[in-house]
């Protein structure tokens, strides 16, 4: 036992062995298998081991693929802009305008509670608001803004983005708030003493110091949106598609090899995006 303690590498390995086991069996092996299956052939009823590039050739040869990837990036970008603006503002308010820690924690919790409830229910809950006879339409009609119900509120790209922003803004608020709380308040006082106005302090002091939090939030939002299939399907009424939906459609048709090929391309895209972002921030330091 004493020898064991001295050998810190062995202790480390023992301590992470359950973690490594889970990641090996439910992350590494599955990804490996997806890579393998992406080269297989599918018949109507089964999948046959093979090594052929047909699935990739078909994927890159189809114009649908490019539209769908473009859609995916579009959703990711628009959602990113919206969540960043809203998330930053909320975090800024909580970190710099709320003066007592108790209130900060209370309001912060108020923002985080919806995160712990069901995403599907939160999507469903937009129906009475956005529907043809929903609250939004009837309010706009009673205000005289529009004459008849707007059709594009529910089951449209607008609804998809709205749902993404609704579900994922929190992933921006939390890391940005976390970094802002660590900013030394005397830096802001120093800036003020040196004659900076509010906007200058925000732009030249707070935003640069908040960048790591923004980066972490961005990683969360971008990956969640790029990997999503359920929000797009539900909120667009199956009228729009992103890569996740392409994969889930193939799965529903039992076309596992082609689903796997698409999945691999999606994974590579996401990892490329994240890898680029990680060059600008050291996650472990910023936690």
């Amino acid at each position: 036992m004493n020898k064991l303690r001295e050998n810190s590498a062995l202790t480390g390995w023992l301590m992470v062995s359950p973690l490594a086991f889970v990641l090996l069996f439910f992350l590494v092996l599955p990804i490996f298998l997806i890579v393998v299956v992406s080269f297989w052939r599918a018949t109507e009823f089964s999948i046959i081991p093979a090594f052929e590039w047909d699935n990739y050739a078909f994927l890159f040869g189809s114009p649908v693929t490019y539209t769908v990837f473009f859609n995916t990036f579009k959703y990711a970008f628009v959602t990113w802009v919206c969540t960043l603006l809203i998330g930053f503002t909320v975090a800024y308010y909580l970190a710099f305008h709320i003066r007592s820690l108790t209130w900060q924690i209370a309001l912060f919790l108020l923002c985080t509670i919806p995160f712990w409830t069901s995403n599907i229910i939160r999507m469903i809950s937009w129906i009475p608001f956005l529907g043809r006879n929903g609250i939004a339409n009837s309010t706009l009609i009673s205000w005289g803004v529009i004459d008849e119900p707007v059709e594009w509120l529910l089951f449209s790209d607008f609804a998809v983005i709205l749902a993404f922003v609704h579900l994922y803004t929190l992933f921006m608020v939390v890391p940005i708030f976390n970094t802002m709380m660590r900013i030394d308040k005397s830096l802001i006082e120093a800036a003020r003493d040196a004659g900076a106005n509010g906007a200058q302090i925000l732009w030249n002091v707070i935003i640069p110091l908040t960048k790591p939090g923004i980066m972490i939030g961005t990683i969360f939002v971008v990956t969640l949106v790029m990997g999503d299939f359920i929000t797009v399907r539900f909120m667009s009424g199956s009228q729009s598609a992103n890569v996740g939906r392409l994969i889930s459609n193939d799965i529903a048709l039992l076309q596992y090899p082609s689903a796997s090929a698409t999945a691999i391309i999606l994974l590579l895209t996401v990892l490329l995006v994240i890898g680029t972002m990680l060059r600008f921030v050291d996650i472990r330091k910023e936690l």
Partner: protein, 279 residues
Amino acid sequence: MEPRPRSFYLLTAFFALFILFLYGPTITIGILSFQGEGGGLTFPMRGVSLYWFYDLFEQQAVGDIWGSFRRSFTLGLMVMVVTVVVSVMGGLAFRKKFPGSNILFYLIVTSLVIPSILISLGVGLLFSQSGLDVHWSTSGFGSQLTWTLPFGLLIMFAVFNRFDKSYEEAARDLGASPWQTLRHVVLPIIAPSLIGVALFGFTLSYDEFARTLLTSGSYNTLPLEIYGMTTNVTSPVLYALGTLTTLFSLLIIGAFLAFALLANRRRAKAGSDAGKGLL
């Protein structure tokens, strides 16, 4: 105190709108679930009744809601326990560098950013190709851990980044063994954050959809059951179910928060025995 700048009031209004945005829809379906018998999916309310809740309890045509709730609850508890234990062990191990720790760290990040549908697809393939049956308590359980463990570990990393090592050194100087240090010094200090990890573990599992889609087998978990309902149920019974699950989630969150508050208070009271002596 200096007077509030004008931006404060603007931002307060913005924050209030944000909270309305977050909670408004959920509150709306909460109200609409009390829709009268002839009511539809939107306003106006046609009377107020508990009709749709009764409907939920009686009508078996909408599926196996109670069975799926039991499964989700059990699975949530399983994931919660494993997430807490494995995250603490991982967090402790990662305080020191060990060979392979970098690779493992990148695997954790990958697990966090990988699109959920890949886990679903990959684990589904893994089980079917090796001749195993997918089941919520095996393949579903493992798939959910790939989502809850990274969260648990990130929290633990954050906790240990702020951990004051001098407490451990003091314990060691007083002759405590490594196990005693862990049991009587480290664990009590990090205990409140473990409540947070447990909350994440349970709720992320309880609400998880994409990772269990292809890995839960023939018995659905609750989110899968609800998703199935959205395609074929178009009455407020959907809202009634939504309201009940949300209430249940709020109950769980409330319990965890109350527990955390209590633990903090107890710690504040019992934290220092300075001057009391050890007699």
